[in-house]
């Protein structure tokens, strides 16, 4: 069973079967990154362009490494040094890059819907959403699910608390969608100023109190306070924010003993998470990053037409 759509624009467009296909494929790719020679020829002759309009460390290198481990070529377009600064539009940039026949363009943009727009103008390349504004970040949610499943038997029935700046977070949106599709019991928690209107439509529960969110939680997802997206004041001070919503050992005590702590990065230590917590035993933050490579390998592989799980 292949993916139905040519592009990966968001979790919203994926069926549960497709999500499971991507996760299963990711699992079989994980092992490649542990080999002494971390490369297979599966996608030899294919090419990926990373078109990133926003700064990124993890996601961009993750896509690049994923492509290379599968034998594909990958090129990074550094927007700050490209013709975009000379006024070229997203559509024109996309069409120009497509003229060089890449197989996949992974795009990150500060505006929601940018990958959707590109997908309407690009005729041959598959578009992968690497994060669009406050909308979606599908590969992040997929790698988060993979990480949860490394620690828990299944996602269905788990209590997952997503904490922090829900309003400005594409990671939160994609996770809410994905975890909802997989049957988790999702809570979102943050100050009311950072909870978007009618988020309940996704079947999540909303609370402004960490205790309620964390009590009995199996998974705690801490979000970064996205100060670059905030044009106004949503909370009085970092100190007060940390007191109310920052994760520390005391608040960890409310969660299940087996709970894991996740964070999509980059971490603001001391703002949303206590400095020492990122390395604590229950933190899976670095496993998430490792799984990111596997998930992106799976996405590239499945989008480029592979219909079955790879025999490696």
């Amino acid at each position: 069973m292949p993916l139905r759509e040519k592009h990966l624009l968001g979790i919203e467009e994926l069926t549960l079967d497709e999500i499971e296909l991507i996760l299963n494929t990711s699992r079989s790719f994980k092992e490649i990154s542990t080999r002494p020679i971390k490369k297979v020829p599966t996608l030899r002759g294919k090419s990926l362009i990373n078109l990133f309009y926003e700064p990124s460390t993890r996601t961009r290198s993750s896509f690049e490494i994923a492509a290379k481990r599968l034998g594909a070529d990958s090129i990074n377009v550094d927007v700050s040094q490209s013709s975009v600064t000379k006024g070229e539009s997203l559509i024109d940039t996309g069409k120009n890059l497509e003229s060089m026949s890449p197989d996949i363009i992974a795009v990150r943009h500060s505006s929601a819907g940018a990958p959707h727009l590109l997908s309407q103008y690009c005729e041959t390349a598959c578009i992968v959403n690497a994060g669009d504004g406050m909308h979606e970040h599908p590969t992040q949610a997929l790698l988060d699910a993979l990480t949860i499943l490394d620690h828990k038997k299944k996602i269905e029935g788990l209590k997952v608390a997503i904490v922090g700046d829900i309003a400005h977070s594409r990671v939160a949106r994609s996770n809410v969608l994905l975890l909802g599709k997989m049957g988790a019991n999702v809570w979102v928690c943050g100050p009311p100023t950072l909870i978007p209107m009618e988020i309940e439509i996704y079947g999540v529960k909303v609370t402004y109190h960490m205790k309620e969110a964390l009590e009995g939680a199996d998974v705690i997802m801490m979000l970064r306070t996205q100060r670059e997206r905030q044009s106004e004041v949503f909370f009085p001070s970092v100190k007060e924010y940390f007191a109310l919503y920052g994760l520390d050992t005391k608040k960890m005590g409310w969660a299940r003993r087996s709970a894991i702590v996740m964070h999509p990065g980059p971490i603001n230590r001391g703002v949303e998470i206590a400095p020492e917590l990122a390395e604590a035993g229950y933190s899976v933050i670095f496993e998430q990053v490792a799984n990111g490579v596997a998930v992106r390998m799976a996405v590239l592989y499945l989008l480029l037409g592979a219909s079955e799980e790879p025999g490696l």
Binding site: E12, S89, L90, I91, H109, S110, S111, A112, G113, A114, H116, L117, Q120, D132, G133, M134, H135, E136, R170, R173, P196, M197, E198, I199, I201, S231, E232
Partner: protein, 428 residues
């Protein structure tokens, strides 16, 4: 030239008329209404099966000239208006330079005269440069021909200046048209704040942004006795404020655009930038409230907020795209399809919304087919069906969400001062 419109259904709320009659036009005026025998030298038009109404007015149009002639000019906008069934339009002052002085007003009128199609009645700015700081020379502009003042595109933020403007405008008895939107509340938004903005991952515009200004305007109008006209009303609660104010005798009127009584934020698909405008498309229950307001009389008129934009300003992400859609060539068929055919309002009420009321609000000295009146006439073929094709628009721009829609109620003729300025052949 004498013109006889024979056998049309004449609908004129100003004289409570809705009857099959012949209409005689002579020397630019209505010369007779009744059973009229044609003379050989007259031009006779068979209007049977058509609606003959006093000329329609679109009191909210952006013509973009001077300054952005790539999007629209006074000539192309006039052509679009005529093809859309309008005999008069009011153009907003947010041109480059702004219409905040009599020289620009005269320039617009001179260009409109040269186009020689629809009547163009400019609206002047309330404040110099639309900056919300100093009053523009309102009296000078009125002398030159403006019929209303507005800082359209934004509201006058400073309450004291708004109050002074309302007071000052009383000298000329002109309305202040207000684009109600609290800028701080709307700042980070691109569409209505609702489940849809949450799902699409974009900042929302709170309905409070509009409602606060509507409430403020009704209060200031009560205090000053000045006339305020709420542009493109879009929320249920804004309409409640207007309704309540009217009951108290406050001199407030309002308009609604076809898109706000037809489309909701749930229609935004695939980040289509032709669904981006200010005020944003609201919720389905707001759409219902607009229909209610149209039928119960609390909404005074329909205006298109025709806002031409070039491809360059729309072929981009939703967040980056310019606001606004064009509407001159679709407003009447949309209203016919969604208000008449769906039995929301009567034909007579529709004529009130498009002609009688805007004429009354702007004091244009038109809007009636009484004998001796200026012969501005709109004729509609109610049964004719069109499929909207943006490529065929007279407007220079194409930013319209109604492409390919099937609509009925097509303007077939527009007469301005007794002269046929537009004709569409539907009887073949």
């Amino acid at each position: 030239m004498t013109l006889l419109l024979k056998g049309g259904s004449v609908v004129d709320p100003s004289q409570k008329l809705e009857k099959k009659l012949d209409l005689l036009v002579e020397k630019g005026r209505v010369a007779g209404l009744g059973k009229i025998q044609a003379k050989k030298s007259w031009q006779v038009i068979d209007a049977s099966g058509w609606i003959v109404a006093p000329g329609f007015v679109d009191m909210h149009v952006h013509l973009r000239e001077p300054g952005r002639e790539d999007k629209e000019t006074i000539l192309t906008g006039s052509r679009a208006a005529a093809a859309g069934g309008f005999s008069s339009i009011t153009c907003m002052p947010n041109t480059q330079p702004v219409n905040d002085n009599e020289a620009i007003t005269r320039f617009i009128l001179e260009r409109a005269g040269r186009a020689g199609l629809v009547n163009v009645f400019p609206a002047g700015a309330i404040t110099k440069g639309l900056e919300g700081k100093e009053l523009a020379e309102i009296g000078e502009m009125v002398k030159a021909g403006v019929v209303a003042i507005t800082d359209d595109g934004k509201s006058v933020e400073n309450n004291q200046i708004m109050r002074r403007a309302l007071e000052y405008a009383k000298i000329f008895d002109i309305p202040i048209i207000d684009h109600c939107e609290d800028r701080q509340l709307a700042a980070a938004g691109h569409l209505n704040e609702s489940a849809v903005s949450t799902r699409l991952g974009m900042g929302g515009i709170s309905r409070a942004a509009e409602e606060l200004d509507v409430a403020r305007d009704t209060i200031l109008s009560r205090i000053t006795g000045g006339r305020v006209h709420i542009a493109h009303i879009s929320t249920q609660e804004s309409l409640s404020w207007v309704r309540q104010a009217k009951k108290q005798g406050i001199r407030v009127t309002c308009e609604v655009t076809p898109h706000h009584f037809i489309l909701s934020d749930e229609d935004i698909k695939n980040y289509d930038t032709n669904f981006k405008m200010y005020p944003p498309l609201r919720t389905p229950s707001d759409v219902k409230a607009m229909l209610k307001g149209l039928s119960d009389g609390s909404i005074d008129c329909i205006a298109s907020d025709h806002a031409p934009h070039s491809r360059l300003e729309k072929e981009m992400t939703f967040e980056e795209a310019s606001n606004g859609i064009i509407g001159l060539e679709t407003a009447v068929p949309l209203a016919w399809e969604f208000l008449i055919r769906r039995k929301i309002v009567s034909v007579s009420r529709l004529v009130e919304l498009f002609s009688t009321n805007p004429n009354r609000i702007l004091k244009l000295g038109r809007g009636t087919l009484k004998k001796g009146a200026i012969a501005d006439i709109t004729v509609i073929d109610p049964d004719c069906e069109i499929i909207v094709d943006v490529k065929k628009f007279r407007s220079k721009s194409r930013n319209c969400p109604f492409h390919d829609w099937r609509l009925h109620g097509v303007p077939v003729m527009v007469i301005v001062k007794g002269k046929i300025i537009f004709r569409r052949d539907t009887k073949v």
